[in-house]
């Protein structure tokens, strides 16, 4: 008697990936899909894809999806959630989409306590447009638009989105995770699950920031990218839970 103990999530489509080798989007997609399956949400989940590398996220999730304009996913998700209040609505956004052009939308969705979940993938660079500086690009990090390294006096300091949004009362769960090790993947999945659960309880805005690699635009091998993420990103973007509903109730 055999038993299936591991299989592809039903909320993920059986298609080939377009993501670069070593990119973490595939892992993050899978974790989100596993959570949707485990919470029994495939029938009422509605996702919003961003502009950026994950612009085609709707090709991977086997659920109803929207494609939003650059940075506007939280506004689109607001419209969806206000129509289908019982749905599990999430946005999937990169750092250019969320922290630059869509900064107002994410701040105000959080401030309103919009009952949505944002999966925020932070790889410290613009991926799709070919490696330009992002609001999350680290100091001295070389990109095509910071060719001499990011300088504070010219471009300011990187934005710590999780910490910033944690100051807003409408945000009920904010965590930063990574998927660079099996242990961190398990923690990331728990955070994503908690974010969805808090949304479904109607408590407010939830966001999980996932530190991610971009071997192609960082100009490194996938393995070297993992090391760079640990040595450079994690010290500036510390992992952890910044806000939980318990902390909101003072």
């Amino acid at each position: 008697m055999s038993e299936i103990v591991f299989k592809a999530p039903a909320s993920l489509c059986d298609v080939s990936t377009h993501y670069c080798p070593g990119c973490h989007h595939g892992i993050i997609h899978r974790l989100v899909a596993e959570v949707i399956d485990e919470l029994g949400l495939q029938d009422k989940a509605i996702g919003v894809a961003p502009v950026g590398c994950s612009v085609l996220a709707y090709d991977y999730f086997n659920i109803d999806m929207f494609e939003a304009a650059h940075g506007r996913a939280p506004a689109v998700a607001t419209g969806i959630k206000r129509v289908h209040k019982d749905s599990a609505v999430f946005t999937y956004q990169g750092d250019g989409d969320l922290a630059a052009i869509g900064c107002a939308e994410i701040v105000h969705a959080a401030a309103r306590g919009e009952k949505i979940t944002t999966i925020f993938v932070n790889n410290a660079i613009y991926g799709m447009t070919g490696g330009q500086m992002a609001p999350t690009t680290l100091l001295e990090q070389v990109t095509t638009t910071s060719p001499y390294g990011r300088k504070e006096d010219q471009a300011g300091m990187p934005i710590r989105v999780s910490e910033m949004l944690s100051t807003l009362d409408g945000a009920k769960f904010i965590a930063r995770v990574a998927v660079n090790t099996p242990g961190n993947m398990a923690k990331a999945k728990l955070a994503i699950k908690k974010a969805f659960e808090i949304q479904l309880r109607g408590e407010g805005f939830t966001l999980v920031e996932v530190l991610s690699t971009c071997p192609t635009n960082w100009g490194m091998s996938p393995v070297a990218s993992m090391t760079w993420l640990e040595k450079n990103m994690m010290p500036y973007f510390p992992l952890g839970t910044f806000k939980t509903p318990e902390e909101v109730v003072k």
Partner: protein, 355 residues
């Protein structure tokens, strides 16, 4: 006929939207349309509707995109500078073929301009406004009653064609009060099997999207859109004409301006001049064929607008050189009085050698 009530134009639009079954409003305050936003803030919670004051016009139109894609009848409103900000979202809504109603209570521009009435957004409303090959259905009322009737109609047209419909008013219409009645709408609530609602038993996901990376696919989508716009052009032209049958000079005017022009035309008729008024109600699709037909009998046309001359280009396209087309306009929130228009009528008739 339902009982008449005295209402401000902006508020009448809001009540008409509710009568039309709209339960979702996303907007942002801007003069001279703010009473509509305020009206929805007051009314929606009373009828279990949704009112969200967005952080910007950009966010508001994207909330509309989400709600429309999720299957709701949804309204947003703004005035000129705000509509400029909404153009990004309107292009996406047109690309994704979502139904929604957008109200533009026009003020003078460019830039911050003024809060006084104007018709300077005609190009922006009728020629696309945002990026890409697309059209909005654009309807222009000239009374508070028509603001009600056109709002009711707009929701039906939006659903019928899965297309944005813009109600193009102006600061005068938005602010003035007139008696109105809310005639029961035809209430054409349509099924939206394409909407992204969550699978809810469906096996194939619905995707709301305007991205078509393969050129072949995007061209096919654009051809489909153009075919839809041709169907709308064939079916949804609306206009009104007065004394045009035997008119030597036909004035073309829409919205609030058409009421001033009408007074001038009536005065000219009393003085024995063969003058008529042609009023486009649908600015897109523009009533080109009826105007072309009138070019067979009229000797000249004159477009009167609160702009530097925008609709006059569509009048010229329709008349296609068959007869002279004149223009008279005021800008910056200035409203012409009937005598001013009457003088223009005399000037044109004299130039034509008819009197």
């Amino acid at each position: 006929m339902a009982e008449k009530v005295l209402m401000k134009g902006n508020e009448a639009i809001g009540e008409a939207a509710i009568v039309a079954g709209c339960r979702h409003y996303f907007g942002y305050p801007i003069t001279p349309q703010t009473e509509l936003t305020e009206y929805m803030a007051k009314r929606m919670p009373k009828i279990e509707g949704v009112f969200v004051q967005a952080e910007s016009e950009v966010a508001a139109i994207n909330m509309v995109y989400g709600a429309a894609g999720a299957g709701a009848r949804v309204l947003t409103s703004s005035s000129s500078p705000g509509i400029s900000l909404k153009q990004e979202g309107i292009s996406y809504i047109a690309g994704a073929e979502l139904p929604c109603v957008i109200v533009n209570i026009v003020r003078g521009g460019p830039g911050l301009g003024t809060i006084q009435p104007s018709q300077c957004d005609y190009f922006q409303a009728t020629k696309g406004g945002g990026h890409g090959d697309y059209r909005n259905i654009v309807l222009a009322p000239n009374s508070v009653q028509e603001m009600v009737d056109i709002t009711l109609l707009s929701f039906d047209l939006a659903d019928k064609y899965r297309n944005p419909v813009m109600l193009l008013g102006d600061g005068a219409l938005g602010q003035m009060m007139e008696p109105v009645s809310f005639n029961p709408p035809e209430n054409k609530i349509v099924e939206k099997p394409w909407a992204a609602t969550g699978l809810r038993g469906r096996t194939k996901p619905n995707i709301i999207n305007s991205l078509h990376l393969k050129p072949e696919n995007l061209e096919k989508h654009n051809i489909h859109l153009q075919e839809k716009y041709a169907t709308i052009t064939a079916n949804e032209v609306r206009y009104e004409s007065l004394h045009t049958e035997d008119a030597d000079l036909i004035l073309v005017s829409y919205g609030i301006t058409s009421r001033i022009v009408r007074t001038a035309v009536e005065k000219a008729r009393q003085e024995g001049f063969k003058v008529g008024l042609f009023r486009p109600i649908s600015l897109w699709p523009f009533p080109s064929e009826p105007l072309a037909a009138l070019a067979k009998t009229a000797k000249a046309f004159m477009s009167v607008e609160l702009s530097a001359g925008q609709m006059v280009e569509d009048v010229r396209l329709a008349v296609n050189g068959a007869k002279p087309v004149y223009f008279y306009g005021r800008m910056g929130g200035m409203m012409p009085n009937p005598n001013e228009i009457y003088e223009q009528i005399l000037a044109v008739l004299q130039a034509k050698g008819d009197k």
